[in-house]
Each structure stands twice: as C-alpha cells, then as structure tokens.
C-alpha cells in the first residue's frame, strides 16, 4: 500500500503567487506568512513524497456555471495552469499520477461517491500557489499530482460532513493502492475571508482558531456546521475550509501537529498554514 506521510493545509490567496513572482518573501508585509513554510520545507525534505493529492476549489478557470461538479477528480497525465484573467504568472504544467487517479475514482464510485472524472482539467491558483509555497524556487516539483476539486461557488454546496466522508474514502483508496509511493495530501484555501458584499473584509479569528484546534484531533467537530453556517462564521469564501476538511479525512485516524501559522491579513484573508503528520509516518521516522 502507498504510505500517507502527512498533510499540508494552507491559504491559496492569489496575491501570494504575485509575492513569490516578485521575491517578496522577506518583505515586512509578507514575511509573517512565508515564515510559516520553513517547517514545511524541512519536513518535506525528510518526508520525500512522490505524489500529492490536492483538495482545492476552482475559481472559474476550468469550471464555469454551465457544468459545475460538486466533486471532480482529475485523471489526466498532465495538468495545465493558465491565464486566470488578472495577471498571475502562468506556471509550468504538472505531471499527473494518472494510474492512482483512476484507482481513487474506482474506489470512490464503489463507495457511492458519484464524482465527476476529468481527463482535461486546468488547475488554477488554488492548486499552484500551495505547490509553489511548498517547493519554492523550482519550475517543477518532485511530485506527480491528483487534483480533487470541490464546488465552493454555486449553491447548494456539499456539506462539511460529506467532504470529510469523501476524504476518508480517498484515505481508503490510498491504503489499498499497491505501490510503495509516499503520498502527501493538500487542503487549500481559507481561512476566514469574504470578498463580496457589504461584509467584504469579514474575518473571524474565533472560528479560525476553532478550526485549527480541532482539525487534527477532532475533525468531526468541523462538521457540526452546515455550509451556510460556515459562510456566516467564516465569510463567503471562508467556505474553502471544506477543502481542508476533506484533506484531513484523507490522512486517516491519527495525526500529529508538526507546525501551525496564523496571520492576519494577507490581502483580504486570515491566512493560515498547518502541517499534520500521520502517525504511521512518525513510526517510520522513529
């Protein structure tokens, strides 16, 4: 079976991509956020994952409202990034872990998750920014990828409970994947923020801390709120916590927190980074 080494959870604000392009990591505005990635870099150097499974949401690069899947799993050999319309540099294509994608898809559908499968899927900043943050300075990353997109734009949205169950089903799929590959899971977006309406600029530290406290030891606590409750608590785009919840499910039962960073504000967002290591990975290292 594949070995799940841990999970990287991070905000994916587009402005972070611009800050990377301009080399602003040590700029006073950006440093408190970028510093949160030092432990992630050290951990990745030791954990050496081969594959990244990424839970994220598309912002109108690949999916439009004409066809909006609730859950979409990539099954491509290669994923292109592209112009999103507002000037973020386009990144080099990412190689897909195609065989693993189909294995995950088989397992999800057998587990009664009626997902959409995509052999062509452009990936936007919600996927590229976390990869650029995790492996800085490289044009290519040392991992192949499986992107899993969750609808966070068009209501009705999936519930937090369903997203956690989806992640747990992905965990089972990874455990039954006959390979010695090392897998890192990503959950991207959040934390609290709202871009639209008179409440634009909304941030809720209390809810964010509730999420950070419970994500590792008690992820089911995050499913007590409905999607609309989460929008009230975390802002319209704070609903991206659904990606974190799904990614947490994919890590399995027990995890250990390696690092955590929380910083207000990056652009309009309460930005956070968290690294959780699986207990199996821990035993292997020890």
């Amino acid at each position: 079976m594949a070995q799940i080494v841990g999970g990287i959870f991070t905000s994916h604000v587009p402005a972070i991509g611009n800050a990377i392009a301009k080399g602003l990591q040590d700029d006073p505005y950006w440093k408190p956020f970028f510093d949160g990635f030092h432990p992630v870099h050290r951990w990745l150097a030791a954990a050496k994952p081969d594959v990244a499974v990424l839970f994220y949401n598309d912002h109108g690069l690949n999916f439009f409202l004409d066809k909006m899947p609730t859950f979409a799993v990539g099954a491509a050999a290669r994923y292109e990034n592209a112009d999103e319309g507002w000037g973020l540099p386009v990144m080099a294509p990412f190689p897909g872990a195609q065989a693993l994608s189909w294995h995950i898809i088989e397992h999800l559908v057998a587990s009664e998750f009626d997902i959409t499968m995509c052999q062509e899927m452009k990936v936007d900043h919600a996927l590229t920014v976390p990869l650029a943050l995790s492996w800085p300075g490289a044009d290519t990353r040392p991992v192949t990828i499986v992107p899993i997109a969750i609808n966070t734009v068009q209501h009705p949205l999936p519930s937090a409970k369903r997203c956690l169950a989806l992640g747990r089903a992905v965990h089972e799929a990874l455990r039954s994947w006959k390979s010695d590959e090392r897998v890192v899971v990503f959950g991207t977006g959040g934390l609290s923020h709202q871009l639209d309406g008179q409440r634009a600029g909304f941030i809720n530290k209390d809810y964010d801390h509730f999420c950070l406290e419970n994500l590792g030891p008690a992820p089911d606590a995050l499913t007590r709120h409905s999607a609309v409750d989460i929008i009230e608590l975390a802002g319209s785009q704070g609903i991206e916590i659904l990606n974190w919840i799904a990614a947490r499910g994919a890590l399995g039962e027990s995890v250990r927190e390696v690092s955590r960073n929380y910083h207000i504000p990056i652009s309009n967002t309460a930005a956070a980074t968290m690294l959780l290591e699986t207990v199996t990975a821990l035993q292997k290292v020890a």
Binding site: A15, G60, L65, A82, Q198, A200, F202, V228, Q237, P265
Partner: protein, 124 residues
C-alpha cells in the same frame, strides 16, 4: 414571468447581513454576466472588451441591469444582478481593480481605510 424560488425554504429564509448566497436563483439570473466574465480568462477577449465594451456586452446578452452595473463599475450592483465574485474578479482586473479595491468600493471606504480595517483585525 416570475421565476419560482429554487432554494429550499430553510436556506432561503437565512439572512446573513451584507452577504448574498450564490444560489440557483442568483446563478440563473446572473448567467449572462458571469459567462462574459468567464470569457476574460482569454487575453484577446479582454482586449475586445476594452476596444468596444458596448458591443462585447451585447454579444453576451447582458440584461439592462447588468449592462448598467458594468458601465458604472459598481460591484454591489453587479452582485445584485447575479454576478459572482470569482467571475467578477476577472472583469475587475480589466478595470485595474484588485480584491482590496473591490472590498473598499463595496464597503464605502477608501482603499487605505479598508486595508487598515483588515490590519486592525489582527489586534482584536
């Protein structure tokens, strides 16, 4: 003809101040505007819009309300006309507005005031 409510009563009854939920009704109403904004992923389309805004909006069949909202660069009016912020952000980019400019416009603050308000949230 009025459209029957598409959202379940429980969620439709929910009011979050200063926040609109992008539900089926809004997505139906805003389709033309959002479709136009989605086209702005393509640099050539952004140029065509800049060259002849009126013709470009016409091509996508914007409603009068949507056309007026775009002409006045008024983001709250675009949202009221069914626009979704993920797509509207691409239009705002053409106008040279980032999400903080858009936040300031919607809250009636200057951009500096809006940024200060965000910074202050770290403190309380």
């Amino acid at each position: 003809m009025t459209m029957p409510a598409l959202v379940p009563a429980r969620e439709a009854a929910r009011v979050i101040p200063g926040t609109s939920l992008f539900d089926g009704e809004a997505a139906s109403r805003g389709y033309a505007l959002n479709a136009m904004c989605y086209s702005f992923n393509d640099a050539q389309n952004r140029e065509s819009f800049k060259a002849d805004e009126e013709a470009y909006c016409k091509r996508y069949g914007l409603t009068r309300e949507q056309r007026d909202a775009v002409a006045s660069r008024n983001v709250l009016a675009m949202i009221a006309a069914g626009g979704n912020i993920y797509y509207l952000a691409k239009l705002a980019g053409i106008f040279g507005l980032n999400v903080q400019d858009v936040g300031a416009q919607q809250t009636g603050l200057t951009v500096e005031e809006f940024k200060r308000r965000l910074l202050a949230k770290a403190e309380n």
